[in-house]
């Protein structure tokens, strides 16, 4: 728990390297939890830009989502992001949608997440 704000530690998620430290122990370039969250947040912003939703890391334990109209939501894991993004953006988040993939691929060269 954060001693200053009283926020409890967030829920773990399978996509966090920290959920399986042994599996990622041999990494050539060690990845801290914070650095991984920053990379994930950057990527999420590229992915969610097409739905009009912006994401930021909230105290290292949650994600803060904001719509263009100023509506916000706080979620703990990336599995919960998609429902919140659909509510805020008013559209279904479908990674198999061909139109969406085409937009994403078009922007890949100019908006790389890393």
């Amino acid at each position: 728990m954060c001693a200053l704000c009283g926020v409890l530690g967030g829920k773990g998620h399978w996509s966090d390297s920290a959920s399986a430290t042994a599996a990622f122990a041999g990494r050539a370039e060690p990845q801290t939890r914070l650095r991984e969250r920053q990379a994930r947040t950057r990527l999420l912003n590229v992915v969610l830009k097409h739905y009009g939703v912006v994401v930021s890391d909230w105290s290292g334990n949650a994600y803060l989502l904001s719509s263009r109209t100023g509506r916000t939501a706080i979620v703990e894991t990336i599995s919960e992001i998609w429902s919140a993004a659909e509510r805020l953006g008013g559209r279904i988040c479908d990674p198999l949608d061909e139109g969406y993939l085409a937009k994403l691929a078009d922007g890949a060269g100019s908006t790389q997440a890393r």
Partner: protein
């Protein structure tokens, strides 16, 4: 902190009505390696388990708010496991190291998996080790064709055990094996006579077991899977399985974002997702294993099973197209790690094999 692999393993034994679940369980429980298991069954009386812990459960489910059938908490199981966990902690029952759940013949294994992986208390104490499905060699083909429950039990299996093969023609057994392979490309298919001298491995081999994980992952990369993937395919089946391979290493962050988005939207139709991944910057293969909306924490092998360094993802799906999944993952991977020159699009980097 307890690692995921140290949690109490839970196996599901499922299979259609009369397919031999109880007979298989009786055989397995004679194995000395399985002397410390808690058995949860739907009905008492059929099986002599004097030396084992035994508890009956009635299959009731509690639907959660989102109403998705696969995301249902099995209330009976929740109560039974919490109670046994409490009794084990207090020393009121022998210390069980594994739990075996024998389902009814019409049960859907998905809510059991969901309960184990998501219930607030249970997920810190138990993990899903594997699903064993018994298939009646005489009636299996008709059951799979006629009952969606039977087809789903096959699709979700980590291992399938063919029973009653002595009662039917060898050609029929071969045809049934081919059909089972088309539905579930990754599961090990065994005749009861092939279980051999180490029957406990049916339950203990999984990607978190130090001794068994290499054997388990080897099934996912077996030559047989590759051959099947390139062979003719029956498009009339509602459930299909296929293997997608990627030549370039996958970015772990991109994979996590993509998979969570895919399973959010299509998790009900992704019955199983297994993978041996070449993750960028990680020298050893990362193993992933998912059941519908839920993915286990990843595991790994200490070395690659062969010289092939491609990522291999096995999908068992209901109504989803392989090509779209392949292209989608490639696009997401390129968001982080775009190729220097890829005018034709990133899907050119992916090689897919259809089951």
């Amino acid at each position: 902190m307890t690692s995921y692999g140290d949690l109490t393993a839970v196996n599901i034994i499922t299979g259609f009505l009369g397919s031999g679940k109880t007979t298989l369980l009786q055989r397995l429980l004679r194995s000395p390696q399985l002397s410390d298991v808690l058995v949860l069954v739907n009905e008492f009386g059929e099986i002599g388990l004097d030396h084992h812990l035994l508890q009956g459960v009635a299959e009731s489910t509690l639907l959660l708010e989102n109403g998705c059938l696969c995301c249902a908490v099995r209330g009976d199981l929740q109560k039974a496991l919490r109670e046994q966990l409490s009794r084990r902690t207090r020393g009121e029952v022998p210390h069980f190291r594994r739990v075996v759940i024998e389902t009814s013949g019409l049960a859907d294994p998905a809510p059991i998996a969901y309960t184990l992986l998501s219930e607030a208390v249970l997920r810190h104490h138990f993990r899903l080790s594997g699903i064993v499905t018994t298939v009646d060699a005489v009636n299996g083909a008709a059951q799979i064709g006629g009952f969606p429950e039977a087809a789903k039990q096959v699709a979700m299996a980590d291992r399938m055990v063919l029973t009653k093969t002595d009662l039917c023609d060898g050609q029929l057994v071969a045809a049934l094996r081919a059909r089972l392979r088309a539905l579930n490309v990754s599961a090990l298919i065994l005749d009861t006579s092939e279980i051999g001298g180490a029957p406990h491995r049916l339950l203990t081999d999984d990607i978190y077991d130090a001794e068994g994980k290499f054997r388990e992952a080897s099934h996912w990369t077996a030559e047989e899977i590759g051959e099947h993937a390139n062979g003719p395919h029956d498009h009339t089946e509602a459930v299909q399985s296929f293997v997608v391979t990627f030549d370039r290493p996958l970015d772990w962050t991109a994979f996590g974002v993509w998979a969570s988005m895919l399973l959010h939207r299509h998790g009900a139709d992704v019955l199983r997702l297994k993978g041996l991944l070449n993750v960028a910057g990680v020298p050893t293969p990362v193993l992933i294993n998912g059941v519908q909306h839920i993915v286990h924490p990843p595991s790994h092998l200490e070395q690659w099973p062969d010289a092939d360094r491609r990522s291999r993802l096995i999908f068992i799906v209901h109504g989803l197209q392989r090509g779209r999944i392949e292209r989608s993952l490639a696009v997401f991977n390129d968001l982080v790690n775009a190729p220097a020159a890829s005018p034709a699009g990133s899907a050119a980097h992916a090689t897919a094999k259809r089951a």
